[in-house]
Symmetry: C2
Subunit: 212 residues, 2 copies
């Protein structure tokens, strides 16, 4: 029985790599597949094929598909949110920038982060599994909340109005993440500065008629 797609179809993959190089390469390919198929849809076979090796050899480098997911999705996601956290805190601490401008930049940072992590989040969302791996609910979301809850009271007009901080945080996450996911799913790029500007306006001055 001849296989229609044999490992090694990609010429550049046929090279013999060092263990470290191979690891790095596999992780990169795994990320691609996870992002395309979701965690459940991703077959370790697909990952191996794309890396130009066999499944068997893949498992020489990683103990399990789970470990691979950890390295390919979880860790990058974690790093990106750490960056966001640092950036926003740094921004909030500055005295040389107009507060209004700080708000705009915060929205920009948040949206930029969301655009970046959206593919990984989408992949993680499809993790499901046997009840464990509540990655999104137990980990990602709380971390985003913490980042924002810490920085929002300082930079926004909040608590100017009768709005719960939690609600406000949810709103910010919801808006930016939804925009990012929407554009991702429709394959449209996000013009971060422009959109961030509009969101800032929306939050700051509203869009509709004033209630009495």
């Amino acid at each position: 029985m001849t296989r229609s797609i044999a490992p090694g179809d990609r010429p550049e993959a046929r090279k013999r790599l060092t263990a470290a190089e191979r690891r790095t390469q596999i992780i990169a390919m795994a990320r691609e597949v996870f992002v395309e198929e979701g965690v459940n849809g991703a077959r370790s076979r697909d990952i191996a094929d794309r890396a130009g090796i066999t499944e068997a050899y893949l498992y020489r480098h990683f103990h399990s598909k789970d470990e691979l997911f950890q390295l390919a999705i979880d860790e990058p996601l974690d790093r990106m949110i750490t960056v966001l956290s640092n950036d926003t805190r740094e921004l909030a601490a500055r005295n040389d920038v107009d507060r209004v401008e700080v708000v705009r930049r915060t929205h920009e940072l948040l949206l930029g982060c969301m655009v970046e992590i959206a593919p990984l989040v989408a992949a993680a969302l499809l993790s499901g599994g046997t009840g464990k791996n509540q990655f999104y609910a137990d980990y990602l979301f709380p971390r985003l909340r913490d980042v924002l809850a810490l920085v929002i009271p300082d930079i926004t007009g909040y608590p100017t109005k009768a709005i719960e901080l939690d609600l406000f945080v949810d709103a910010m996450i919801g808006i930016h993440l939804t925009i990012a996911l929407e554009h991702l799913l429709e394959n449209k790029p996000v013009d971060v500065p422009v959109v961030a500007e509009q969101v800032t306006t929306m939050f700051a001055v509203g869009v509709g008629r004033r209630p009495r």
Copy 2:
């Protein structure tokens, strides 16, 4: 080998039902399991157990797990969004209600709908699978967009400001859905009228400092 959990542990399930009753019951149990475990996590075995029957008999009533998902999750979701669509349109058409009040009620309707569908959406989100079943991206989201895009220009102050309609729609979906999912994941109830009121304020008059 004795099974620790045998079908029929639930006394009321031991009854002989008519085919129609059994179908209805299975669908209800399926919905429970899908919601608890996500579509991938849900085992047809679990569904059968909970219905107090065997897997074999389950498959006498439904051709596939997919069909069951369709009936247990997709259709109800579809109905709920149809209701939302009708309600909002009806609301928008009324002349006897202050426009400002209409906006508030629209947020209330939307949030109420999101709270109701959140469990099903969460279940559908975990569908993943082999690349198909882009339920969320291909179906749910577009439908929500259409509902809102149709009604928003009429009821809101939009297009008062330099904000894209698409963005505005995304923002509304994002906020309400995120709030609903957040509360679901943390097992907190949503006080719909109160939260809707706050969201209305946020959209209408903003929360932060005004830009120059």
